[in-house]
Amino acid sequence: MAKATFRIWRGDSGGGELVEYPAEVSEGMVVLDAVHRIQAEAANDLAVRWNCKAGKCGSCSAEVNGQPRLMCMTRLSDLPLEQPVEIRPMKAFPPIRDLVTDVSHNFEAKKRIKKFKPRKPDAPDGTWRVDQADVDRVQEFRKCIECFLCQNVCHVLREHHLHEQFIGPRLLVYAAALEMHPLDTEDRLRDLKNAHGIGYCNITKCCTKVCPEGITITDNAIIPLKERVVDEFYDPLGKLFRAFRK
């Protein structure tokens, strides 16, 4: 069995450092397996979040050799093992302990987005008729596993710490899923413009690059929302048209 070296950030909100652990690696192992092996053998108190180990729950987000990744979907065979593998917690969130960070901001921000409000049912039995094409369109957004890697790399949050002013890419995807939901009737455009700070996004597409679900966050979610906001609030012809219609 081959050996590799792992340098894992150990610490808490007061600070920390990279600690080196050697570990045996075998065929097919992912980074999370190595972390578990180290936890079982050398550092029982090594803090890490995980659940499904199959890229479905979005718990084990971290920065592996500087790349934001799900540890359970990062195979060791894809990393240069002749040098140490460096594993750090997500930088955009306050550290709690070791690889675990405080992601509560994301849960708080979600509560501020207006909830789903369906139109009246289409059929007398209280059900709706929906075209598969309309389902497919929002499926892209609904498959988000809330790993928060997009929030982690968004410079508005990571570098500028504007968590209060800007909900970030994950929650813009959530808002897009609601806004483009075939049954939804709620209007979130004013909130998107003001409370949710959609204007802060300047489309660098860092979020799209790191999404483990391959959601085209910027092009398919954020830009269409931005366009709707612009149409609603900044289009003089549209404004005139609406004024006459009223």
Binding site: E27, A40, N44, K111, F116
Partner: protein, 606 residues
Amino acid sequence: MSDFPRFEYDVLVIGAGGAGLRAAIEASAAGARVGVVCKSLLGKAHTVMAEGGIAAALGNVDDRDGWRVHFADTMRGGQYVNQPRMAEIHAKEAPERVRELEAWGALFDRTPDGRILQRNFGGHRYPRLAHVGDRTGLELIRTLQDHGIHQGIRFHMEHTVTTLMLDGGRVAGAFGYEREKGRFLIFAAKAVVIATGGIGRAYSVTSNSWEYTGDGQTLAYDAGAELIDMEFVQFHPTGMVWPPSVRGILVTEGVRGEGGVLRNREGRRFMFDDIPENYRTQTADTEEEGWRYCQGDKNARRPPELLTRDHVARCIVREVKEGRGSPHGGVFLDISWIRERMPNSEEHIRRKLPSMYHQFKELAGIDITKEPMEVGPTTHYMMGGVRVDPESQMSNVPGLFAAGECAAGLHGANRLGGNSLSDLLVFGKLAGEHAARFARENGEARLDEAALAATAKDLLSPLDRQGQPSVEGPYAIQHDLQTMMQDLVGIVRRGPEMERALDELGKLSERATRVAAPGNREYNPGWHTALDLHNLLTVSQAITLSAIERKESRGAQFRDDFPDKDEAFGRINVSIRKGADGRMEVSREPVPELSPDQAAVIEEMK
């Protein structure tokens, strides 16, 4: 009064998977103050892993379906040791629970006329599973989560309950710790709903995450509740087997529902070789007929790959044992073959099974649209658990309710795929409703906080033992427990081996009294693992004792020394309780009689 921070609720829900969230939503809607405690972050519970779909007799794809068929299928799948009233309520209420999800924002795949699409699954006579590709669980948990956060429910994420508190015989609240700082907390509650899921971590090959350590079953047992059916552990026939690090990760039954076939190394579809008598009339005679079934031909019968999970798992074990397995100790599951039958099959597979495609591509380097997968059984689901009243979901401990996987009764000896998500919703709702009512009708309970100082001290003992002589770490004990249960109380069981398992459990319990966790109280998984050992040991003992007691083979329980069904055991449930002396007691309880109506439905559907 103690110094522990204290929260007060009418209803405390332990667990935030589908059942816990649904219970919390219902209790809150009934006007109760509701708190939810969960070990992970919100939305990460095992429900998220459910793939294939949610069973409900909507009749959208085949209008011959209805609650009677669903009820009869569930009873047949459970080999008639289910609690029949639960199976009836489940079959009747599941459609409404699915439609309600849609009103809360869930989006399922559609039929051509825009209704909810339903797919085939093992043991279901008609296409019955509402689904979204192969990520139905994510859709379900996210819908409940996003609905629930607007209902005034308080969520305590990354908290663990270690002890239920009683007032006389009645539940009074719970005691536990928050993982972040390791502080202890009191949750005073008039009613408690346990919705903690399964026990998969008692085995070494499992589809379950670190959370599934039998917490709810143990909390209830320690509080005096009765457990039943604990011998029935479902081994899902298709888990990944290669590479070793992914062994056990689930491969959805949806692959077979979409036409995937099982083959041994000789290329033979071995499932045709052994079709149980009670499914013979419902099973295809030829490969051709099986394919037509998967394509929606109403006159075709289902392929044998879609027989119940217990049977398919055993057939796979047989193939492997007799030397016809795949290179890494499984068999082949092939969906790529459908290219012979349909143009653009690759796109079809990626659309119907996106997360399976992704999972095999990323973790095993296999393209399932082009080549077969290697699969083998994995510990998946606990049919047994807390015995509850079918109408209210209350256990024999007043004020203590249970719903979802940690409760027992619906599935009997074997759960049908898709019946779990519907179970969560139907009985989660009932538990929430009745817990709120119980809280309303029975005021505050008295909490004995004085006793908690000793409990807290006990919980801290693994940390206090650091550095002492003859201690050992929690992971080694957990690992040895898992290996032992896998070897001695696994898919194929024998009396003498299980007697040995009891001895081993005794030794492991002794080792657990000397478990030491390094580090401090802050987010320390070693400490948490040490505390979970009590639960794993308790449920492992319950499984082993129950499996010894049932001297027959039925559903998920296969006894090599009693390979046949025994009618006498078909009339009992094995029951587990904590005796007055603290020892685990086993007894046999009669399965509730079928009502005349239920009996008539079963007869009619035969």
